[in-house]
Symmetry: C2
Subunit: 143 residues, 2 copies
DNA sequence: AACAAATCTGTAATCATTATAAATCAATTA
DNA sequence: TAATTGATTTATAATGATTACAGATTTGTT
């Protein structure tokens, strides 16, 4: 669990990304909120601390972090790009009722697909959609 | 393998979708080309036969078909929505070199994720990215 | 301080998708 | 058949997220 600003600075240095206040803050926002925020959510969250922040900077910073392999893009819904600092192989569940996105672990046995034995697999993505337990119980209560 | 126009008409009737020439043609385009086309590709393909076709009609028709459960949306890349008439549970591999999208079968054992035991799962999506065999051999030849 | 390089900001441009309203088509009835 | 009605299609405008760009600001170095 890397969260302190010092840790984040180290991570950036390792990947030859110059350090700036905005870049650290975007990174910090992602580490503190593992909720897979959108650009807009990141921008709104940081705007309180950095009134001069430009949304372009958020876009640019995220592209740098994604290209460097520190952050991954999550596209479950069209026109709702989200960002995840957790680079471990895991799946995402989006509740179609409340919109929340949950992580879940997936088995690497997915790899044992001999149809793809001659393919070079660089990136694996798994996402489900449905209704989360909380929304399920709400629906049942309102019956 | 449903492909004839009569079969497609039946499918539409079953789902209470009124039949029109444009709707049949969009459906036919999807059944003949299992290459997961974009709206633009579908529009361009049909425009030869239907010069008056509007792109809006392609969008509207696809939404109807998706809502009816006859077609699924494939969003691997942001800003590149694709459509697939194969509703069976299967995965997609996108080659980052040639852009081609391959189908591959996936094991339903993905379901055996007890983390999601209290979730209602309505939709499962799996996609990989990497380099396909053809592009791999091209790269090796050019070395 | 002066300079150069990198970063950030604000605005404009892009482009896929959606909204809207008029035109066309298809089915129904007088 | 002609008129009517409703559904579908078309063309155009609007939307909204992302990207391009150019000037302003910051940072580091001499
Ligand atoms: Mn995640
Ligand atoms: Mn497919
Ligand atoms: Zn929920
Ligand atoms: Zn390829």
């Amino acid at each position: 669990m890397k969260s302190s600003l010092e840790e984040l600075e180290k991570e950036l240095k390792i990947r030859n990304i110059n350090i700036s206040y905005q870049r650290l803050k975007v990174l910090e926002c992602l580490t503190l909120n593992h909720c897979h925020p959108t650009v807009d959510q990141i921008f709104t969250a940081l705007h309180k601390d950095i009134p001069t922040l430009s949304k372009t900077t958020v876009y640019n910073t995220l592209r740098i972090l994604v290209d460097a392999g520190m952050v991954r893009v999550i596209t479950i819904e069209e026109h709702e790009t989200r960002y995840d600092i957790d680079m471990e192989n895991h799946g995402h569940f989006k509740c179609e009722s409340c919109g929340m996105i949950y992580d879940f672990s997936i088995d690497i046995d997915l790899l044992t697909c001999d149809e793809l034995s001659n393919f070079e697999v660089n990136d694996q993505n798994v996402y489900f959609k449905g209704i989360c337990p909380g929304c399920l119980s709400n629906i049942n209560q309102n019956k």
